[in-house]
């Protein structure tokens, strides 16, 4: 397999380009996605090559970006909606929950809601308020939607294309703090199915599950743990709704110990869902309760403090110690 090294931002750009080339019905719509290429340059150069009719610079209203994408879907188009930042998706929440998630059902299957909502999510870039949120649980809790999160350039390249091809609406979470990190991208074949969890590192003592920007922190923690003689099996969930419980269960039955790390607060989150479900599925193998290392239950703090809000290597190792004590 031949691979190319590129940043996640570039990989997303290339993935979008491929989808635009392969399917004339694919559109991109959002604020500043045209000449500017988006504030993160994910759509850089696309308007120049595919025109203003397909790469649509929109007026400033998220509910309208998603609401008109629904109408475009009814007319047979597949729109990739860019939300400029995670904290600006909420004006579109009503359209997403009441329409995007429910129209396939309401139309008795006549409407295909094949659209993708791209969400640069999580913190770590030292931004001002509303630019570092983790709203994935809101969407995972909403029946009718699917949610995925990429953590590597290769996944970004393939998952965005798989999402665009998918016939259900997908909330596509991009860890903005990783946009500029490079990785190898295999341009020939996808690494896995869109919703498959992937074991990033094999281990035997504790299963640690995460997604998006948290993966790198977890892998760092795994190195440290290894040096302390604790072997972590690290799983990248990738699919947040639905979750790939078979991969997770297989690991947990081996390790018997579970830690989930996420930036979102604990209450009614992806992590608490994983813990409760896996505790059920692997009850007899569990030698310790599953723990969630998460953001604290406060509004995202001023970012000079964010590194003490997001899961750190230390906090993950602390949770590892606690589950190892059982």
């Amino acid at each position: 397999m031949t691979t190319t090294s590129m940043t996640m931002a570039k990989a997303l750009n290339e993935g979008l380009r491929k989808s635009l080339e392969n399917n004339k019905k694919v559109l991109i719509m959002g604020e500043d996605v045209g000449k500017l290429g988006g504030v993160f340059r994910i759509t850089d150069g696309l308007q120049k090559d595919f025109g203003e009719d397909r790469i649509i610079d929109s007026p400033l209203a998220e509910s309208a970006i998603v609401g008109t994408a629904v109408g475009l879907a009814i007319r047979g188009y597949r729109t990739v909606c860019e939300m400029q930042f995670d904290g600006f998706v909420y004006p579109a929440f009503d359209q997403i929950v009441s329409q995007v998630a429910k129209l396939h059902k309401r139309s008795d299957g006549v409407y295909t809601m094949g659209l993708v909502i791209r969400l640069p999510f999580q913190g770590g870039i030292g931004a001002i308020e509303h630019h570092s949120e983790s709203p994935e649980a809101y969407f995972a809790a909403t029946a009718g939607l699917r949610v995925v999160a990429c953590s590597t350039p290769n996944d970004a390249y393939w998952m965005i294309q798989q999402s665009i091809d998918h016939n259900d609406p997908i909330i596509f979470c991009e860890p903005k703090s990783r946009y500029w990190e490079k990785g190898e991208v295999d341009l020939e074949s996808p690494p896995a199915g869109l919703f498959d969890a992937v074991v990033r590192r094999e281990g035997s003592d504790v299963t640690v599950i995460g997604y998006g920007g948290t993966m790198k922190t977890i892998l760092r923690a795994a190195d440290t743990a290894a040096s302390e003689g604790v072997s972590l099996e690290v799983i990248d969930a990738r699919g947040l709704s639905p979750l790939d419980f078979s991969t997770m269960t297989a690991s947990l039955e081996k390790t018997g110990r579970l830690v989930v790390a996420q930036e979102a607060p604990h209450t009614a989150s992806i992590g608490s869902g994983i813990v409760s479900e896996l505790t059920h599925r692997c009850f007899y193998s569990m030698s310790a309760p599953g723990l969630v290392v998460s953001g604290y239950h406060v509004p995202y703090p001023p970012t000079r403090l964010e590194e003490d809000y997001r899961p750190t290597v230390d906090r993950i190792l602390d949770a590892i110690d606690r589950v190892m004590e059982y």
């Binding site: 209203a61 609401g67 008109t68 009814i74 009441s98 139309s107 009718g144 998918h166």
Partner: protein, 355 residues
Amino acid sequence: MITEELIQLVTPEGERVSHPQYESTLNGEEIFGLYRDMAIVRRLDNEATSLQRQGQLALWAQIQGQEAAQIGAGRAMQPNDFSFPTYREHGIAWCRGVPPEDMLRMFRATSNGGWDAQKYRHSVPTVVLGNQVLHAVGYGMGIQRDGAEDAVITFFGDGASSQGDVLEAFVWASSYNVPIVFFLQNNQWGISTPMSIQSKIPLYHRAGGFGFPGVRVDGNDVLAVYEVTQRALSLARVGGGPTLIEAHTYRLGAHTTSDDPTRYRIDAEVEVWKHKDPIERVKALLAREYSVKNSQFDEVEAEADEKALKLREDVLAMDRPDPITMFDNAYAEFHPLIEEGRHEMIELGVSGGQR
């Protein structure tokens, strides 16, 4: 200085009036057709109301009083046009060919939609006020990208006009010059909320501030509504962009069968509007100008009764679906939680298990 233009071609007494910009293009036969539509739709509406009273429907949203607005607009559409309704557009659905029983499935609570939206080119009902207006704009953006000469029309009320989605839709339609008609049925009430709380001035004025034309038409004058909508749709088809039509009409009935208007509205107001009844008006016109005989009106009544009877039979025949159908079309592609759910339901034995 706020104008209160009101385009009217036929008075409540059924007399023609001339208007500088609009004149009726319809012949007697066509007008009689509109009368027939309105009479049948009202009859079906009443049948649905009584079905609800008899416990056969969970709810019903009447259109009584708004027949001219809906039939005039619905008949102005071309086959290839597409419409985005609320929960009250039974007259539009009728014009689009949606079978009456399908209109009642949502109210029978056996479906959240009811008909094949692509087949009839009439979208499923939208209950969340204003949402469908953005869908219509997006659909129109699709028409533009297809290079087609179709138009899209969307319906909403005076209450919904205050929703951000509707106002954002105005921004978008203007910015992209979308081939759309915003058809606002101002029936003076949003449940118990009078129009005056939504706006101090007629709502058609909103359009001007967004850069496209707004017109106000007598919503109880089917000839006027037809011409105004027809022109707006044609304008849209040739790249003329959006138009907002405010149809000045009235909700003669309750908001829905669960509403009690006596708590908030005086009978006198209703009485005034009864004199503007859209059906009586066109009936008078047909009798006077086209010497339509009572027997012809009676034939329509009879036809309407037949259809009402059939509707009743069809509704009574609508059984509770197998619970397991709740999993159908939740997703378009395989989803593990859907399979788990189906499995659990079959285990519980509440479903026949068939799909």
